[in-house]
Protein backbone atom coordinates (compact mmCIF):
# COMPACT_ATOMS: atom_id res chain seq x y z
CA UNK A 1 0.00 0.00 0.00
CA UNK A 2 1.33 3.42 -0.93
CA UNK A 3 1.63 5.33 2.34
CA UNK A 4 1.20 8.70 0.74
CA UNK A 5 -1.97 7.70 -1.09
CA UNK A 6 -3.47 6.53 2.17
CA UNK A 7 -2.36 9.77 3.83
CA UNK A 8 -4.07 11.65 0.99
CA UNK A 9 -7.19 9.60 1.73
CA UNK A 10 -7.04 10.76 5.35
CA UNK A 11 -6.66 14.31 4.09
CA UNK A 12 -9.67 14.08 1.77
CA UNK A 13 -7.49 14.76 -1.25
CA UNK A 14 -8.55 11.90 -3.48
CA UNK A 15 -11.34 12.11 -6.01
CA UNK A 16 -14.39 9.92 -5.47
CA UNK A 17 -13.17 7.11 -7.72
CA UNK A 18 -9.69 6.95 -6.19
CA UNK A 19 -11.18 7.17 -2.73
CA UNK A 20 -13.55 4.25 -3.27
CA UNK A 21 -10.81 2.15 -4.79
CA UNK A 22 -8.40 2.77 -1.96
CA UNK A 23 -11.06 2.22 0.70
CA UNK A 24 -11.86 -1.14 -0.89
CA UNK A 25 -8.21 -2.10 -0.72
CA UNK A 26 -7.92 -1.03 2.88
CA UNK A 27 -11.04 -3.03 3.73
CA UNK A 28 -9.66 -6.13 2.08
CA UNK A 29 -6.54 -6.25 4.23
CA UNK A 30 -6.91 -6.59 8.01
CA UNK A 31 -3.46 -5.27 8.83
CA UNK A 32 -3.87 -2.33 6.51
CA UNK A 33 -7.26 -1.62 8.02
CA UNK A 34 -5.76 -1.59 11.52
CA UNK A 35 -3.12 0.93 10.49
CA UNK A 36 -5.68 3.09 8.70
CA UNK A 37 -8.09 3.14 11.65
CA UNK A 38 -5.33 3.75 14.19
CA UNK A 39 -3.86 6.61 12.16
CA UNK A 40 -7.29 8.23 11.97
CA UNK A 41 -7.70 7.89 15.73
CA UNK A 42 -4.25 9.35 16.41
CA UNK A 43 -4.90 12.29 14.10
CA UNK A 44 -8.28 12.95 15.67
CA UNK A 45 -6.92 12.96 19.19
CA UNK A 46 -4.05 15.27 18.30
CA UNK A 47 -6.34 17.59 16.36
CA UNK A 48 -8.74 17.80 19.27
CA UNK A 49 -5.86 18.49 21.64
CA UNK A 50 -4.63 21.29 19.38
CA UNK A 51 -8.12 22.67 18.93
CA UNK A 52 -8.49 22.92 22.68
CA UNK A 53 -5.12 24.60 23.23
CA UNK A 54 -5.27 28.34 23.72
CA UNK A 55 -4.17 30.16 20.56
CA UNK A 56 -0.64 31.51 20.63
CA UNK A 57 -1.87 34.91 19.54
CA UNK A 58 -5.24 36.53 19.20
CA UNK A 59 -7.16 35.16 16.26
CA UNK A 60 -4.42 32.79 15.25
CA UNK A 61 -4.98 29.21 14.24
CA UNK A 62 -4.36 26.93 17.21
CA UNK A 63 -1.60 25.24 15.24
CA UNK A 64 -0.34 28.51 13.90
CA UNK A 65 -0.92 27.57 10.30
CA UNK A 66 -3.42 27.58 7.50
CA UNK A 67 -5.74 24.67 6.85
CA UNK A 68 -4.22 22.21 4.42
CA UNK A 69 -7.09 22.35 1.98
CA UNK A 70 -6.04 25.86 1.09
CA UNK A 71 -2.43 24.94 0.50
CA UNK A 72 -1.32 23.70 -2.87
CA UNK A 73 0.75 20.68 -1.94
CA UNK A 74 3.76 21.63 -3.98
CA UNK A 75 3.59 25.35 -3.45
CA UNK A 76 6.15 25.53 -0.70
CA UNK A 77 8.42 22.97 -2.22
CA UNK A 78 8.38 24.67 -5.58
CA UNK A 79 9.48 27.93 -4.08
CA UNK A 80 12.23 26.20 -2.22
CA UNK A 81 10.55 26.44 1.12
CA UNK A 82 9.94 23.70 3.55
CA UNK A 83 6.99 21.46 3.86
CA UNK A 84 6.13 22.79 7.28
CA UNK A 85 3.16 24.68 5.96
CA UNK A 86 1.58 21.40 5.04
CA UNK A 87 -0.38 20.81 8.14
CA UNK A 88 -3.14 18.73 9.52
CA UNK A 89 -6.33 20.56 8.75
CA UNK A 90 -8.35 21.00 11.89
CA UNK A 91 -11.89 19.79 11.75
CA UNK A 92 -13.06 23.18 12.97
CA UNK A 93 -11.64 24.82 9.88
CA UNK A 94 -13.66 22.81 7.45
CA UNK A 95 -17.35 23.12 6.80
CA UNK A 96 -19.25 19.92 7.40
CA UNK A 97 -19.06 17.58 4.45
CA UNK A 98 -22.35 16.58 2.92
CA UNK A 99 -23.14 13.00 3.70
CA UNK A 100 -21.33 10.68 1.34
CA UNK A 101 -19.48 13.42 -0.48
CA UNK A 102 -15.74 13.79 -0.67
CA UNK A 103 -14.09 16.88 0.77
CA UNK A 104 -13.13 19.63 -1.60
CA UNK A 105 -9.74 19.15 -3.12
CA UNK A 106 -7.03 21.74 -3.66
CA UNK A 107 -7.72 24.18 -6.43
CA UNK A 108 -5.07 22.74 -8.73
CA UNK A 109 -5.61 19.07 -9.35
CA UNK A 110 -2.71 16.79 -8.70
CA UNK A 111 -1.13 14.81 -11.53
CA UNK A 112 -2.26 11.22 -11.45
CA UNK A 113 -0.26 9.14 -9.06
CA UNK A 114 0.40 6.46 -11.61
CA UNK A 115 2.44 8.84 -13.70
CA UNK A 116 4.98 9.45 -10.99
CA UNK A 117 8.16 7.55 -10.43
CA UNK A 118 8.13 5.27 -7.50
CA UNK A 119 4.38 5.41 -7.06
CA UNK A 120 2.51 2.18 -6.67
CA UNK A 121 -0.42 2.58 -8.99
CA UNK A 122 -3.78 1.41 -7.78
CA UNK A 123 -4.97 -1.89 -9.07
CA UNK A 124 -8.09 -1.16 -11.05
CA UNK A 125 -9.42 -4.63 -10.35
CA UNK A 126 -11.27 -4.68 -7.10
CA UNK A 127 -9.97 -7.36 -4.83
CA UNK A 128 -12.42 -9.78 -3.34
CA UNK A 129 -12.77 -8.51 0.19
CA UNK A 130 -11.46 -10.80 2.88
CA UNK A 131 -13.78 -10.46 5.79
CA UNK A 132 -12.92 -12.54 8.80
CA UNK A 133 -15.58 -14.41 10.68
CA UNK A 134 -15.07 -12.31 13.78
CA UNK A 135 -16.04 -9.24 11.82
CA UNK A 136 -19.05 -10.93 10.23
CA UNK A 137 -20.04 -12.23 13.61
CA UNK A 138 -19.96 -8.81 15.21
CA UNK A 139 -22.00 -7.23 12.45
CA UNK A 140 -24.51 -10.05 12.17
CA UNK A 141 -24.91 -10.28 15.91
CA UNK A 142 -25.38 -6.54 16.11
CA UNK A 143 -28.10 -6.75 13.51
CA UNK A 144 -30.19 -9.27 15.37
CA UNK A 145 -29.42 -8.27 18.93
CA UNK A 146 -27.91 -11.58 19.84
CA UNK A 147 -27.68 -12.49 23.49
CA UNK A 148 -24.14 -13.87 23.63
CA UNK A 149 -21.89 -12.35 26.22
CA UNK A 150 -19.59 -10.82 23.64
CA UNK A 151 -22.40 -9.49 21.55
CA UNK A 152 -24.20 -8.17 24.57
CA UNK A 153 -21.33 -5.77 24.81
CA UNK A 154 -21.83 -4.78 21.21
CA UNK A 155 -25.50 -4.18 21.89
CA UNK A 156 -24.82 -2.36 25.09
CA UNK A 157 -22.39 -0.11 23.27
CA UNK A 158 -24.93 0.46 20.59
CA UNK A 159 -27.60 1.70 22.98
CA UNK A 160 -25.52 3.22 25.73
CA UNK A 161 -25.98 6.86 26.47
CA UNK A 162 -22.86 7.87 28.36
CA UNK A 163 -22.16 10.68 25.91
CA UNK A 164 -24.17 13.88 26.47
CA UNK A 165 -23.51 14.95 22.88
CA UNK A 166 -25.33 11.82 21.73
CA UNK A 167 -28.27 12.63 24.00
CA UNK A 168 -28.41 16.15 22.59
CA UNK A 169 -28.20 14.77 19.06
CA UNK A 170 -31.25 12.62 19.82
CA UNK A 171 -33.31 15.73 20.45
CA UNK A 172 -35.30 17.04 17.56
CA UNK A 173 -33.16 19.87 16.14
CA UNK A 174 -30.36 18.79 18.50
CA UNK A 175 -28.80 21.75 20.24
CA UNK A 176 -29.88 24.15 17.54
CA UNK A 177 -32.78 25.45 19.61
CA UNK A 178 -30.59 25.85 22.67
CA UNK A 179 -31.77 25.14 26.16
CA UNK A 180 -35.49 24.73 26.65
CA UNK A 181 -37.37 27.36 28.62
CA UNK A 182 -37.03 26.68 32.31
CA UNK A 183 -34.16 24.30 31.68
CA UNK A 184 -32.15 25.53 34.65
CA UNK A 185 -34.99 25.61 37.10
CA UNK A 186 -34.35 24.50 40.65
CA UNK A 187 -35.14 20.84 41.16
CA UNK A 188 -35.68 20.11 44.81
CA UNK A 189 -32.70 22.06 46.06
CA UNK A 190 -30.88 25.32 45.69
CA UNK A 191 -27.80 23.51 44.43
CA UNK A 192 -29.45 22.91 41.09
CA UNK A 193 -27.96 25.13 38.42
CA UNK A 194 -25.93 27.03 40.97
CA UNK A 195 -22.71 26.60 42.86
CA UNK A 196 -22.55 23.25 44.49
CA UNK A 197 -22.82 23.45 48.24
CA UNK A 198 -19.70 21.48 49.01
CA UNK A 199 -21.34 18.39 50.46
CA UNK A 200 -19.88 15.04 49.48
CA UNK A 201 -22.26 13.01 47.37
CA UNK A 202 -22.51 9.25 47.08
CA UNK A 203 -21.24 7.95 43.74
CA UNK A 204 -24.71 7.32 42.30
CA UNK A 205 -26.22 10.81 42.74
CA UNK A 206 -22.84 12.32 41.95
CA UNK A 207 -22.84 10.65 38.54
CA UNK A 208 -26.47 11.60 37.92
CA UNK A 209 -25.69 15.25 38.63
CA UNK A 210 -22.58 15.11 36.50
CA UNK A 211 -24.51 13.66 33.57
CA UNK A 212 -27.28 16.25 33.90
CA UNK A 213 -24.89 19.19 34.04
CA UNK A 214 -22.91 17.83 31.10
CA UNK A 215 -26.08 17.93 29.00
CA UNK A 216 -26.88 21.42 30.27
CA UNK A 217 -23.49 22.73 29.29
CA UNK A 218 -23.70 21.17 25.83
CA UNK A 219 -27.01 22.94 25.24
CA UNK A 220 -25.77 26.19 26.74
CA UNK A 221 -22.53 26.16 24.74
CA UNK A 222 -24.37 25.63 21.47
CA UNK A 223 -26.30 28.85 22.00
CA UNK A 224 -23.44 30.77 23.68
CA UNK A 225 -25.50 31.00 26.84
CA UNK A 226 -23.65 32.82 29.60
CA UNK A 227 -24.42 29.99 32.02
CA UNK A 228 -21.53 28.03 30.48
CA UNK A 229 -19.14 29.53 33.03
CA UNK A 230 -21.31 28.64 36.01
CA UNK A 231 -22.02 25.16 34.69
CA UNK A 232 -18.36 24.43 34.02
CA UNK A 233 -17.52 25.39 37.60
CA UNK A 234 -20.24 23.14 38.95
CA UNK A 235 -18.95 20.27 36.84
CA UNK A 236 -15.40 20.87 38.05
CA UNK A 237 -16.66 20.79 41.61
CA UNK A 238 -18.42 17.48 41.00
CA UNK A 239 -15.39 16.02 39.25
CA UNK A 240 -13.38 16.91 42.32
CA UNK A 241 -15.30 14.16 44.10
CA UNK A 242 -14.58 11.55 41.42
CA UNK A 243 -11.46 9.44 41.90
CA UNK A 244 -10.51 9.69 38.25
CA UNK A 245 -11.92 13.15 37.66
CA UNK A 246 -8.76 15.26 37.50
CA UNK A 247 -8.06 14.78 33.82
CA UNK A 248 -11.64 15.65 32.90
CA UNK A 249 -11.72 18.65 35.24
CA UNK A 250 -8.83 20.29 33.43
CA UNK A 251 -10.86 20.46 30.21
CA UNK A 252 -13.82 22.02 31.97
CA UNK A 253 -11.35 24.43 33.55
CA UNK A 254 -10.36 25.49 30.05
CA UNK A 255 -14.04 25.85 29.17
CA UNK A 256 -14.48 28.09 32.18
CA UNK A 257 -11.51 30.28 31.21
CA UNK A 258 -12.47 30.50 27.55
CA UNK A 259 -16.14 31.29 28.19
CA UNK A 260 -15.32 33.77 30.97
CA UNK A 261 -12.91 35.62 28.66
CA UNK A 262 -15.28 35.60 25.71
CA UNK A 263 -18.92 34.54 25.99
CA UNK A 264 -19.00 34.00 22.21
CA UNK A 265 -16.05 31.58 22.29
CA UNK A 266 -16.75 28.20 20.74
CA UNK A 267 -15.98 25.86 23.61
CA UNK A 268 -17.44 22.75 21.98
CA UNK A 269 -14.04 21.20 21.09
CA UNK A 270 -13.07 21.52 24.75
CA UNK A 271 -16.36 20.00 25.81
CA UNK A 272 -15.68 17.06 23.49
CA UNK A 273 -12.42 16.41 25.30
CA UNK A 274 -14.09 16.78 28.65
CA UNK A 275 -16.77 14.29 27.66
CA UNK A 276 -14.21 11.74 26.55
CA UNK A 277 -12.21 12.17 29.74
CA UNK A 278 -15.32 11.72 31.88
CA UNK A 279 -16.28 8.58 29.96
CA UNK A 280 -12.78 7.20 30.45
CA UNK A 281 -12.74 8.02 34.14
CA UNK A 282 -16.16 6.84 35.23
CA UNK A 283 -15.95 3.18 36.06
CA UNK A 284 -19.65 2.53 36.59
CA UNK A 285 -21.42 4.59 33.97
CA UNK A 286 -25.03 3.50 34.54
CA UNK A 287 -25.82 6.46 36.78
CA UNK A 288 -24.00 8.91 34.57
CA UNK A 289 -26.14 7.89 31.62
CA UNK A 290 -29.29 8.08 33.75
CA UNK A 291 -28.44 11.70 34.53
CA UNK A 292 -27.63 12.39 30.88
CA UNK A 293 -30.85 10.84 29.68
CA UNK A 294 -33.04 12.49 32.31
CA UNK A 295 -31.77 15.99 31.58
CA UNK A 296 -32.06 15.51 27.82
CA UNK A 297 -35.51 13.99 28.37
CA UNK A 298 -36.59 17.02 30.36
CA UNK A 299 -35.59 19.19 27.41
CA UNK A 300 -37.39 16.82 25.02
CA UNK A 301 -40.54 17.00 27.11
CA UNK A 302 -40.39 20.79 27.10
CA UNK A 303 -40.11 20.66 23.30
CA UNK A 304 -42.89 18.06 22.97
CA UNK A 305 -40.38 15.86 21.17
CA UNK A 306 -42.02 12.42 20.99
CA UNK A 307 -39.24 11.00 18.82
CA UNK A 308 -36.78 11.23 21.68
CA UNK A 309 -38.94 9.02 23.87
CA UNK A 310 -39.68 6.51 21.12
CA UNK A 311 -36.01 5.97 20.31
CA UNK A 312 -34.35 2.63 20.91
CA UNK A 313 -31.80 4.28 23.17
CA UNK A 314 -34.49 5.64 25.45
CA UNK A 315 -36.14 2.23 25.74
CA UNK A 316 -32.81 0.53 26.39
CA UNK A 317 -31.79 3.14 28.94
CA UNK A 318 -35.04 2.82 30.86
CA UNK A 319 -34.73 -0.97 30.83
CA UNK A 320 -31.21 -0.79 32.19
CA UNK A 321 -32.09 1.83 34.79
CA UNK A 322 -34.98 -0.23 36.11
CA UNK A 323 -32.58 -3.05 36.99
CA UNK A 324 -30.01 -0.95 38.85
CA UNK A 325 -29.58 -2.69 42.19
CA UNK A 326 -28.47 0.39 44.12
CA UNK A 327 -31.64 2.36 43.36
CA UNK A 328 -33.59 3.57 46.38
CA UNK A 329 -37.37 3.45 46.69
CA UNK A 330 -38.01 7.11 45.82
CA UNK A 331 -35.97 6.92 42.65
CA UNK A 332 -37.55 3.65 41.62
CA UNK A 333 -41.03 5.13 42.10
CA UNK A 334 -40.06 8.23 40.12
CA UNK A 335 -38.66 6.08 37.33
CA UNK A 336 -41.86 4.07 37.24
CA UNK A 337 -43.90 7.27 36.95
CA UNK A 338 -41.77 8.45 34.05
CA UNK A 339 -42.07 5.13 32.25
CA UNK A 340 -45.83 5.28 32.58
CA UNK A 341 -46.00 8.83 31.28
CA UNK A 342 -43.74 8.73 28.22
CA UNK A 343 -45.32 8.52 24.78
CA UNK A 344 -44.82 5.04 23.34
CA UNK A 345 -46.00 3.50 20.10
CA UNK A 346 -48.59 5.72 18.45
CA UNK A 347 -49.65 7.40 21.68
CA UNK A 348 -49.54 11.17 21.59
CA UNK A 349 -49.63 13.61 24.48
CA UNK A 350 -51.52 16.83 24.87
CA UNK A 351 -49.90 19.97 26.29
CA UNK A 352 -50.96 19.15 29.84
CA UNK A 353 -49.54 15.63 29.61
CA UNK A 354 -46.25 16.96 28.26
CA UNK A 355 -46.05 19.30 31.21
CA UNK A 356 -46.77 16.43 33.61
CA UNK A 357 -44.09 14.34 31.94
CA UNK A 358 -41.59 17.17 32.31
CA UNK A 359 -42.40 17.38 36.02
CA UNK A 360 -42.13 13.59 36.39
CA UNK A 361 -38.69 13.65 34.81
CA UNK A 362 -37.66 16.52 37.05
CA UNK A 363 -38.81 14.38 39.96
CA UNK A 364 -36.69 11.50 38.74
CA UNK A 365 -33.69 13.80 38.47
CA UNK A 366 -34.32 15.13 41.95
CA UNK A 367 -34.62 11.65 43.44
CA UNK A 368 -31.71 10.03 41.59
CA UNK A 369 -29.38 13.01 41.79
CA UNK A 370 -30.29 14.11 45.31
CA UNK A 371 -30.37 17.67 44.07
Amino acid sequence: MDDERVAALHDGRLDAHERDELLSRVLSDDEEYDIFAETAAVLREIEEAHASSPPSSAGADPMGVEPAADVAPHANIARGGHASDDVIPLATHRPPTPEGAAEPRPAEPEPHAGSRDGVISLDSRRRAPRRPWAMYGSIAAGLVGLGLAATLLTRARDTRLDDPAMAVAMLEDGAARGPAAGWNEVVGSSTRGGEANGKQLDPEPLNVQLGAYMVDIELAAASHDTSVVRLSRTIIHLLGQVTLGDSAAKFYGKVDSAAAANPRADVRPLLAQGREAVRSGVIVPEWLELGIWAEAARTAAARHDAGFFRSRRTRALLDRASTLPEMDGDTRAALKAVRAAIPVGGRSLDAKQWDELRRDIAGLLGAAGKF
Binding site: D3, D20, S24, A83, A113, A140, G147, L244
Partner: protein, 263 residues
Protein backbone atom coordinates in the same frame (compact mmCIF):
# COMPACT_ATOMS: atom_id res chain seq x y z
CA UNK B 1 10.01 13.58 -4.61
CA UNK B 2 11.91 15.77 -2.25
CA UNK B 3 15.41 14.82 -3.37
CA UNK B 4 16.18 18.38 -4.28
CA UNK B 5 15.31 19.55 -0.79
CA UNK B 6 17.14 18.84 2.36
CA UNK B 7 15.26 15.91 3.89
CA UNK B 8 17.16 16.35 7.12
CA UNK B 9 15.83 19.89 7.44
CA UNK B 10 12.29 18.63 6.84
CA UNK B 11 12.82 15.92 9.42
CA UNK B 12 14.05 18.39 12.01
CA UNK B 13 11.28 20.81 11.21
CA UNK B 14 8.70 18.09 11.87
CA UNK B 15 10.47 16.46 14.77
CA UNK B 16 8.04 17.84 17.34
CA UNK B 17 5.13 16.49 15.31
CA UNK B 18 6.80 13.10 14.92
CA UNK B 19 7.29 12.96 18.66
CA UNK B 20 3.70 13.99 19.28
CA UNK B 21 2.38 11.24 17.02
CA UNK B 22 4.72 8.68 18.55
CA UNK B 23 3.61 9.67 22.05
CA UNK B 24 -0.05 9.54 21.08
CA UNK B 25 0.12 6.12 19.45
CA UNK B 26 1.98 4.84 22.51
CA UNK B 27 -0.59 6.33 24.83
CA UNK B 28 -3.49 4.88 22.86
CA UNK B 29 -1.90 1.46 22.95
CA UNK B 30 -0.89 1.55 26.60
CA UNK B 31 2.84 1.77 25.98
CA UNK B 32 4.75 4.25 28.10
CA UNK B 33 7.86 4.80 30.18
CA UNK B 34 11.00 3.20 28.78
CA UNK B 35 9.01 1.32 26.17
CA UNK B 36 7.56 4.56 24.84
CA UNK B 37 11.00 6.17 24.82
CA UNK B 38 12.34 3.17 22.92
CA UNK B 39 9.61 3.51 20.36
CA UNK B 40 10.21 7.21 19.90
CA UNK B 41 13.86 6.54 19.31
CA UNK B 42 12.99 3.76 16.88
CA UNK B 43 10.53 6.00 15.00
CA UNK B 44 13.19 8.67 14.60
CA UNK B 45 15.65 6.08 13.32
CA UNK B 46 13.08 4.70 10.92
CA UNK B 47 12.59 8.11 9.36
CA UNK B 48 16.34 8.77 9.24
CA UNK B 49 17.39 5.41 7.79
CA UNK B 50 18.76 5.23 4.26
CA UNK B 51 19.36 8.95 4.23
CA UNK B 52 15.77 9.86 5.11
CA UNK B 53 14.34 7.61 2.41
CA UNK B 54 10.79 7.84 3.80
CA UNK B 55 10.88 11.63 3.59
CA UNK B 56 12.51 11.65 0.18
CA UNK B 57 9.70 9.46 -1.10
CA UNK B 58 7.14 12.12 -0.23
CA UNK B 59 5.60 13.54 -3.41
CA UNK B 60 3.40 16.27 -1.98
CA UNK B 61 0.08 14.55 -2.69
CA UNK B 62 -0.85 14.44 0.97
CA UNK B 63 -0.24 16.77 3.87
CA UNK B 64 3.30 16.15 5.13
CA UNK B 65 2.15 15.78 8.71
CA UNK B 66 -0.51 13.24 7.80
CA UNK B 67 2.06 11.30 5.82
CA UNK B 68 4.49 11.31 8.73
CA UNK B 69 1.70 10.23 11.09
CA UNK B 70 0.94 7.32 8.80
CA UNK B 71 4.61 6.29 8.68
CA UNK B 72 4.97 6.48 12.45
CA UNK B 73 1.77 4.54 13.15
CA UNK B 74 2.72 1.92 10.57
CA UNK B 75 6.11 1.53 12.24
CA UNK B 76 4.44 1.20 15.62
CA UNK B 77 2.07 -1.51 14.43
CA UNK B 78 4.82 -3.47 12.69
CA UNK B 79 7.04 -3.26 15.73
CA UNK B 80 4.25 -4.26 18.09
CA UNK B 81 3.36 -7.24 15.92
CA UNK B 82 6.97 -8.40 15.88
CA UNK B 83 7.23 -8.17 19.64
CA UNK B 84 3.94 -9.33 21.05
CA UNK B 85 1.79 -10.53 18.22
CA UNK B 86 -1.43 -8.78 17.37
CA UNK B 87 -3.03 -7.18 20.42
CA UNK B 88 -6.32 -5.42 20.58
CA UNK B 89 -8.22 -4.19 23.59
CA UNK B 90 -11.36 -6.20 24.27
CA UNK B 91 -14.72 -4.65 23.49
CA UNK B 92 -15.33 -4.39 27.22
CA UNK B 93 -12.09 -2.48 27.74
CA UNK B 94 -12.96 -0.18 24.85
CA UNK B 95 -16.32 0.44 26.46
CA UNK B 96 -14.78 1.32 29.81
CA UNK B 97 -12.20 3.74 28.47
CA UNK B 98 -8.48 4.31 28.39
CA UNK B 99 -7.74 3.20 31.93
CA UNK B 100 -9.42 -0.14 31.28
CA UNK B 101 -7.43 -0.57 28.08
CA UNK B 102 -4.19 0.23 29.89
CA UNK B 103 -4.98 -2.12 32.71
CA UNK B 104 -6.02 -4.93 30.40
CA UNK B 105 -2.87 -4.60 28.33
CA UNK B 106 -0.61 -4.61 31.37
CA UNK B 107 -2.25 -7.60 32.99
CA UNK B 108 -3.10 -9.77 30.01
CA UNK B 109 -0.60 -8.65 27.40
CA UNK B 110 2.43 -7.82 29.50
CA UNK B 111 1.76 -10.33 32.29
CA UNK B 112 1.90 -7.85 35.19
CA UNK B 113 0.27 -8.67 38.50
CA UNK B 114 -2.56 -6.32 39.44
CA UNK B 115 -0.57 -4.61 42.21
CA UNK B 116 2.36 -4.12 39.85
CA UNK B 117 0.10 -2.75 37.13
CA UNK B 118 -1.52 -0.40 39.64
CA UNK B 119 1.83 0.85 40.83
CA UNK B 120 3.05 1.46 37.29
CA UNK B 121 -0.17 3.22 36.30
CA UNK B 122 -0.08 5.50 39.34
CA UNK B 123 3.63 6.22 38.97
CA UNK B 124 3.08 7.16 35.34
CA UNK B 125 0.31 9.54 36.41
CA UNK B 126 -2.27 7.55 34.46
CA UNK B 127 -4.59 7.14 37.41
CA UNK B 128 -5.03 7.77 41.09
CA UNK B 129 -7.28 4.75 41.52
CA UNK B 130 -6.49 2.30 44.30
CA UNK B 131 -5.71 -1.36 43.68
CA UNK B 132 -9.21 -2.21 44.90
CA UNK B 133 -10.76 0.15 42.36
CA UNK B 134 -8.56 -1.28 39.64
CA UNK B 135 -9.53 -4.78 40.68
CA UNK B 136 -13.16 -3.79 40.32
CA UNK B 137 -12.44 -2.46 36.87
CA UNK B 138 -10.46 -5.55 35.89
CA UNK B 139 -13.35 -7.73 37.00
CA UNK B 140 -15.48 -6.07 34.32
CA UNK B 141 -13.09 -7.26 31.61
CA UNK B 142 -12.96 -10.71 30.05
CA UNK B 143 -10.07 -12.99 30.98
CA UNK B 144 -7.62 -13.14 28.09
CA UNK B 145 -4.79 -15.46 27.27
CA UNK B 146 -1.16 -14.51 26.66
CA UNK B 147 -0.32 -13.48 23.11
CA UNK B 148 2.50 -15.95 22.85
CA UNK B 149 1.82 -19.61 23.60
CA UNK B 150 3.30 -21.00 26.78
CA UNK B 151 5.34 -24.19 26.53
CA UNK B 152 3.51 -27.36 27.45
CA UNK B 153 5.17 -30.71 28.16
CA UNK B 154 4.30 -34.02 26.53
CA UNK B 155 2.40 -35.04 29.66
CA UNK B 156 0.04 -32.10 29.35
CA UNK B 157 -0.60 -32.84 25.72
CA UNK B 158 -1.36 -36.49 26.42
CA UNK B 159 -4.08 -35.50 28.85
CA UNK B 160 -5.92 -33.40 26.30
CA UNK B 161 -9.14 -34.91 24.93
CA UNK B 162 -9.44 -35.77 21.26
CA UNK B 163 -10.35 -32.83 19.14
CA UNK B 164 -13.54 -34.13 17.60
CA UNK B 165 -15.88 -36.98 18.20
CA UNK B 166 -17.64 -38.45 15.14
CA UNK B 167 -21.12 -37.16 16.07
CA UNK B 168 -19.70 -33.76 16.87
CA UNK B 169 -18.14 -33.68 13.44
CA UNK B 170 -21.56 -34.04 11.80
CA UNK B 171 -23.01 -31.28 13.98
CA UNK B 172 -20.08 -29.03 13.20
CA UNK B 173 -20.50 -29.63 9.49
CA UNK B 174 -24.14 -28.59 9.77
CA UNK B 175 -23.17 -25.52 11.75
CA UNK B 176 -20.54 -24.68 9.16
CA UNK B 177 -23.12 -24.88 6.39
CA UNK B 178 -25.56 -22.63 8.28
CA UNK B 179 -22.78 -20.21 9.06
CA UNK B 180 -21.69 -20.14 5.43
CA UNK B 181 -25.25 -19.25 4.43
CA UNK B 182 -25.37 -16.36 6.88
CA UNK B 183 -21.93 -15.24 5.74
CA UNK B 184 -22.93 -15.31 2.10
CA UNK B 185 -26.02 -13.20 2.80
CA UNK B 186 -24.07 -10.72 4.87
CA UNK B 187 -21.31 -10.59 2.30
CA UNK B 188 -23.84 -9.83 -0.39
CA UNK B 189 -25.51 -7.18 1.75
CA UNK B 190 -22.16 -5.54 2.46
CA UNK B 191 -21.15 -5.68 -1.18
CA UNK B 192 -24.15 -3.56 -2.08
CA UNK B 193 -22.87 -0.79 0.13
CA UNK B 194 -20.44 1.81 -1.09
CA UNK B 195 -16.85 1.39 0.14
CA UNK B 196 -17.43 4.35 2.42
CA UNK B 197 -20.46 2.74 4.01
CA UNK B 198 -18.59 -0.54 4.29
CA UNK B 199 -15.83 1.27 6.15
CA UNK B 200 -18.36 2.86 8.49
CA UNK B 201 -19.90 -0.53 9.21
CA UNK B 202 -16.51 -2.08 9.79
CA UNK B 203 -15.21 0.68 12.04
CA UNK B 204 -18.27 1.28 14.13
CA UNK B 205 -20.48 -1.81 14.06
CA UNK B 206 -17.81 -4.49 13.77
CA UNK B 207 -14.90 -2.93 15.66
CA UNK B 208 -16.78 -0.66 18.02
CA UNK B 209 -14.61 2.32 17.14
CA UNK B 210 -16.04 5.70 18.07
CA UNK B 211 -18.15 7.71 15.69
CA UNK B 212 -15.56 10.48 16.02
CA UNK B 213 -12.82 8.15 14.76
CA UNK B 214 -14.95 6.94 11.86
CA UNK B 215 -15.77 10.53 10.96
CA UNK B 216 -12.10 11.51 11.03
CA UNK B 217 -11.02 8.49 9.01
CA UNK B 218 -13.45 9.37 6.23
CA UNK B 219 -13.52 13.14 6.59
CA UNK B 220 -17.24 13.15 7.32
CA UNK B 221 -19.32 15.31 9.59
CA UNK B 222 -19.57 13.46 12.88
CA UNK B 223 -23.08 14.53 13.73
CA UNK B 224 -24.52 13.25 10.47
CA UNK B 225 -23.15 9.82 11.31
CA UNK B 226 -25.36 9.56 14.38
CA UNK B 227 -28.29 9.31 12.01
CA UNK B 228 -26.53 7.55 9.17
CA UNK B 229 -25.18 4.58 11.12
CA UNK B 230 -28.55 3.37 12.42
CA UNK B 231 -29.88 3.67 8.87
CA UNK B 232 -27.03 1.53 7.58
CA UNK B 233 -27.67 -1.07 10.22
CA UNK B 234 -31.32 -1.21 9.40
CA UNK B 235 -30.54 -1.42 5.68
CA UNK B 236 -28.20 -4.36 6.22
CA UNK B 237 -30.76 -6.15 8.29
CA UNK B 238 -33.45 -5.63 5.66
CA UNK B 239 -31.18 -6.90 2.90
CA UNK B 240 -30.33 -10.02 4.84
CA UNK B 241 -33.98 -10.68 5.45
CA UNK B 242 -34.66 -10.09 1.78
CA UNK B 243 -32.03 -12.73 1.00
CA UNK B 244 -33.98 -15.16 3.15
CA UNK B 245 -31.77 -15.03 6.24
CA UNK B 246 -33.92 -14.32 9.25
CA UNK B 247 -32.85 -12.86 12.55
CA UNK B 248 -33.71 -16.19 14.13
CA UNK B 249 -31.35 -17.97 11.77
CA UNK B 250 -28.50 -15.61 12.53
CA UNK B 251 -29.22 -16.01 16.21
CA UNK B 252 -29.22 -19.76 15.85
CA UNK B 253 -25.99 -19.77 13.88
CA UNK B 254 -24.10 -17.45 16.14
CA UNK B 255 -25.81 -18.00 19.39
CA UNK B 256 -25.41 -21.65 20.22
CA UNK B 257 -25.22 -21.84 23.95
CA UNK B 258 -26.21 -18.23 24.37
CA UNK B 259 -29.41 -16.69 25.60
CA UNK B 260 -31.76 -14.76 23.46
CA UNK B 261 -32.00 -11.10 24.17
CA UNK B 262 -33.55 -9.95 20.99
CA UNK B 263 -36.16 -7.26 21.06
Amino acid sequence: MLDRLDPEAIFLEHLAWIEEVAAMVCRRNSVWGDDADDFLSSARSKLMENDYAAIRKFRGEAVMKTYLARVVVLHFMERARERTGRWRPSAAAEAHGQLAKDLEAMVYRDGCRLAEAGERLRTAGRTTATDAELARLLALLPVRHPMRPAEAGAETLEQLPGSRQADHAVEEDEEDAARARVLAALNEALDQLSPEDQMLVRMHLADGRTVADAARALRLDQKSLYRRLPRLKSMLRERMEHAGVTAAEVRETLGRGGTDADE
